[in-house]
Structure formats: structure tokens, C-alpha cells
Amino acid sequence: MEGLPRTLLIVDDEELVSDSLGSYFEALGCIVHTASSAEEALKGLAEANPDAAIVDMRLPGMSGQEFLLAARAKLPALKSLIYTGSLEYTLPQEFQALGMANEHVFVKPVEDMKILADALVSLMTTK
């Protein structure tokens, strides 16, 4: 699939969710790194050096939001999608300041992971 990030980081504490997403994007040709917590993801961030990340917000320990802010501090070019189980979720001010919008927020479950793939493509093509 054209336009997908070369390296993708997936952070989700639900193993089946991160694994299925990983398998899906690997099949589409991405190099996928998965982490089940924010701390784990941060640890390997420099080594993995992802172009984009799909991050769950409710995580054990550090939250998805804290992770994203920290990750962006380290990798300012990092693109990200929010993939959350909560329909209540509203985009915080800090993320809006980072150029994120509602279209980058996806509520679990998506019926087809292609929706996320399409979103990533459009995310990568915008500056």
C-alpha cells in the first residue's frame, strides 16, 4: 500500500489488538513495533525510530497522552493516531497544539482496519 509509514509503533495493552494491528500493517509492508505499555514504548523509541504511532489512551501506568507528548518531544516528526475504547474522548488542547484533529481519533472497534490504514496514508501525506 502506497504512502504508509515505513516504521509504525503500536501501543496497546490489549495484546490481541496490538498483534492483529501489527500483523495487518506488516502484511501491508510496514516495519511494526508493538508495546503493551507507554513505558515500554518509550524505552525502545529511539531504537525503533518510528515514522508514525497508533496509541491507545487508557494504558496501565503512564497514559497514552503522556506518552505521545514525551514521544513528540523526542521525535518531533512523529505522526500519530489515537485509537481509544472511549467514545467520550475529546482531543486535549496540547494535542491540538501539536496539529492533531478529531479526524485522528478513532474509537474502538473499527470494523475494518483498512480505515486506520487510510488514515495513516493521509496523515503521512500531510505536513
Binding site: V17, S20, Y24, A27, G85, L87, P109, V110, E111, M113
Partner: protein
Amino acid sequence: MDHAGNEHAFMGFEPHGHCFLWQPDLIALHAISDLVTGLSYYFIPFLLMYFVRKRKDIPYPWMLTLFALFIVACGTTHLMSVYNIWNAEYWAEGYVKLVTAAASLGTAVILVPFMPKFLAIPSPAQLGEVIGKLEDEVATRLSAEKSLESYRDRLEILVSERTTQLQDSNAQLETEIQERKQIEKDLRESERRFRATFEQAAVGLGHADMNGRWLRVNEKLCGIVGYSREELLERSFGDITHPEDTRVSLEHFDRLLSGEENQYALEKRYIHKDGSVVWVFLTVALVRDENQEPLYCIAGVQDITARKNAEDRLAKARKYIANILDSMPSVLVGVDSEGMVTHWNAEAANRMGLTAEQAEGRRMEEVFPRLAPHVEDVRAAISERTPKNTEREMFKEADELHYQDVMIYPLISNGVEGAVIRVDDVTQRVHIEEMMIQSEKMLSVGGLAAGMAHEINNPLSAILQSAQISLLHLSPDIEGNIKTANECGCSMESIRNYVEKRKIIKFLDGIRDAGSRAARIVSNMLDFSRKSESKRSIVNINETIDKAVELALSDYDLKKKYDFKQVNIERYYDSTISEISCTRTEIEQVILNLLKNAAQAMAEQKEKAAPSTIKLCTSMEKGYVRIDVEDNGPGMSENVRKRIFEPFYTTKGVGEGTGLGLSVSYFIIVTNHRGRIDVHSEPGKGARFTILLPLE
């Protein structure tokens, strides 16, 4: 005499004695005869005069006087003859003779006509006869006198008796006079009393003539109208009557005069001298004379201003209370201990179509059939002195189910036996309560859903994604799959063959479908917890409905299960409808949901009387925009209708509906838009959903 003779002799005549030649004898004869005759003649008149004096009964006494004068004159003549024997006074003797002649002639002349009268004078013989008779008469009289004397004796007795009687009657008269005096005294006393009564009576009294002019008035009457007695007596009672009461007063007065009434009484108004209104109770009676002619009227005037004012206030208070009762939206029926209607307020009249006059005095259950089951309650409430309440009692009116609250309050004030029954039609309230319960249910569902959503969505995500990956990894045209299959010593074709034969693909598709449905349920549930979004815009409802119809026509589910194109859509739009502020997508969702339900219901209907039709109507209604979505499908029973907005309540087959569609619609309309949604339906008669959206 000698001397005189000498004088005459001197004048020429000679004394008559000379003729006698002075012969003493002759002279003596003449002289003595004439003297005696003369003196006798003089004597006769005295006798005559005496006679006349003594006998007054002699007729014509003046005749005797004349006769006496004549005799005196004759006597004088004779005396003159004696004188002239010695003297010569013949002229004097001549004059005397002339007088005598005149008297004689007069007497003679007068005597002639009197002759018959003298002849009529009874003669002494006749008189003798008369005297004889008289003597007889005297004798008779004497005897009569004797008997008279005896009479007199008896008379004396009678007189003495009569005297006694007279004395008695005198005494009686005296008594009578005393009595009269007493009566007069009494009369004066009575008069004084009546005057005092009239003057000092505590009511105004007056007498008036037939023109109404006051003839007499007492102090009190003056006081009532504020005029002095003099002022009042110059006026008629018409002058002091209130203009509005003049007509009725005159009518009474006319009837009084015509005899139709003997007296009349009425309450009317006078105008006080100071201009204020005085209410009086007036009684008027007419006094007639013995010929039935009217004499005067007696008017009794009582000042009832204070009472009238009190009555006015009472009437006002009564009116005010009645007004309060009539202003109540509740039916209020007063009944006595026998269950007879004693009060019937405006709402009762309105509900039952009977006026208070028609209803009062009749049996409660007769004029208000819905109260028939409460006759016993009323009796119990009164005897036990405790209120009886029945809430949400069902009744049918015009084939529709209604609810009423019946409250029976016993009257507990002293001496009044009865009860007040308050009946409220609470149908509306019951419906609202039902909706509130529903709303409550949905809110709790919403709250629950919000908490659950995250927990459910994550595993759902794992299920759906895993199924998708599994299917992806079984796909024969993906390079990675082929490679891995080869490494495992088999081809992708054989694997594909295997999983299809073992229906693994079908099961995985099933997992995805079921997972997707579960995800939609969660998503719908979350709609309840979502606050009304600020995505409001000014919307034309007609266009919104058209958009929903368009969506319905292209809806995948609709196309798959029911052919929406087979349904006639009839639009009855009010083109002048006001635009309203609402969340367009939500309203679209609601309309789409209703269209889907209608289409589905009509598709399930086996026997159709008419082609499936959905009517869409819009109109304005008292501050709302009204939308009607009406189908001619199978309709629904009362039980279904009551629960139709409940979450998870569905009539569709298992797996066909979430049971949330109408609940969400309800939530969108009622909670998010502060509108109303209601359904009218009966089995076999289709269903009509009505949405009211406020104009704001």
C-alpha cells in the same frame, strides 16, 4: 162780669142779657140751664174716659174719645152762652160753635160707616143669653176643675215620681259626663302615645299623599335621608329615590292605587342629602276613606345599608369562592350525606355537559357516571370522616383509555354533612410519567453504557481485528501467506480449500458480523450518555425529511431486507413552516429510524388492504413544528405501544433489531431537543408517530 160787659159794650156789641132785657128771671133761667147743661156735658167725658180705661175690651176706643171731644165742645158752647149773657164775646162763642160743629160733623160722618159694626155688637139681651151659657159653662168648668183637681193630685204623684226619675237620670248623666271626660283624657293620652310612637319610633315613618309628597315625617326618617323635617316636607319620596329604583317603586305605587295590592314592601335605595346611597327596607300601606277613595300612604322605612353592605360583601365573598372553585382545572362535586349533588363547578359542567342547575339535587352517579364505583367510598368518607383517594383509575372515554384520580374529602365543619369529590383527568400526567420513567431508564442505560463502553470496546476490538487478520491470513493472493504456506509444506490453495470446506471462513465472517453488531449496540447505548451536541444549525424540517427519505432509499439494510422502493411515500408538507434550530443529523436519524420501522412492519404484513404507504406531514402547532410519520401497516397493540420507546424493547426477530432505535429517537427528541414524540396506533390500523419540535 160787669167789668167785661163794660169792655164789650165799648166795642159796640151788647151782652145777650140785653136781649133778655136784663129781666132777672129770664136771665136766671137761661143762665142756670146752660150752666147745668155745660157742666153735665163736661162730666160725661170723664165717665167715658174712665170706662175706656177700665174696659179695654171695648171696640174702637178712639170713637169714644172723639165722642168725648164732641160733648166737651157742646158743653163749652153752653158755658159760652152763660158768659155772653153778661159779656158780648160773640166771635169767641162763634169759634167755639164752629169747633163744636166740626166735631159733631166729624163724629156723625165717622159714625155712619161704623153703624153695621155697632149693630154687630151684641145687645145686652144677647149678652144675657151669652152670660147664661157662660154660667152653664162655668158650672161645667167647675166640675171639670174638680176632676182636674183629682187629676192634679195624681199629677203630683206622677211629678214626684218623674222628679225621682229625673234625678236618677241626672246622676246617670253626671256619670256619663265623667266617663266622657275620662274618655277624652284617655283619647288625649292615646293621641299623645301615638304621636310619641310615631315620633320616637326606631324606624322611619311618614305619611305621603297620592303624589308621593310627604305629609308627616318622623325624626328617624329625617335622620335616614339627612334632611330636616322642613326640607323633607317640601319633597316627595320620588325626589329622594335612587334613579335606578324609580321604575320599580312607581310600579308598586300604581298597583297600590289600582287596588291590586293593599301594601307592598321592597328593598330600595334613597339618595341621602349628602349624595350617598342609603339602602332601605320600605313598607307602604294605603289608607282609604269609607268610600274607598285613597287618603294617604303610610311608609315605614328601615335603614338596611349596613345589612346590605354586609350582604354585598357576603355575596362578593361567595362569588369569589365560587370563582375559585370554577377556576380550578379539577372537577369539584359537592354531595350531601345522601349522595345528592350540592355543588357542581364549571369544570364539572364542562366535562359532563350539564349545568349546575341541571346537576344539583340529583344523584352523584346519575350525573357523573364515572363516579358510580365510588358511591360506597363517599359514604365511608363521610361516616369515618377520613378522605378517600383513588389514583390512576382507568376509564374509557370515546374508546380511548383515560386515567382519573378521585379524591373524596369529607366536610368536617360543624353541622354540614357531606363530601367534596375532586376528579382529575390525569391521562396526560400518566403519559408524562410513563415517559419520565422511560427517560429515566434510558438515562441509567446511558450512564451504564458510558462506563461499560471502554471495557467492551477493547475486547470487541480484539475480536474484530483478530477475525479480520485471521481472514486476511487465509487469503490466497497475499504473498506472505503463500510464502508461509510453502514453508509449512502446503499450498495456499489447499489451505483455502480446507478452511472453506470446514466453513472456517464462514465462522470468521460470523465473528466479524456479530462483533460489528455488538459494537453498534455499544455505540447506540453511548448515544444516550452523550450531551446534546452543539452542532445545532437552522434547519428546514421539510428538507431534512427529504434527506432522510433519500438515506432510506440507499440504506443497505433496507435494500437487503425490505424493498423500500415498493413503499409509496406521500408528502404533505406545510411549505410555510418555520425553520428551527436543531441538530440536523440527529433529526435525520430519527426520521430514518421511523421510516425503517414502518417499512419493516409493512413488509411483515401478510395481507394488505392497500398498497404500503407512508405519509409524511409537517405543520405548525402552538410554538412547535409538528412532524407526522404515518404508515398503513399492521399497527400495534396497546401493550406494545406503551413500551415502544423502552430501551432493548423490540418486536423484531432476534438479531434483527437492537431495541434501541426508538429509544434513541426518543432521547434525541425529548432530551436533546426538548420536544415530544408520541405514537398513536391500534392493531390493524397502522401507526402514526408524531414529533413536536419547539420553535424556541
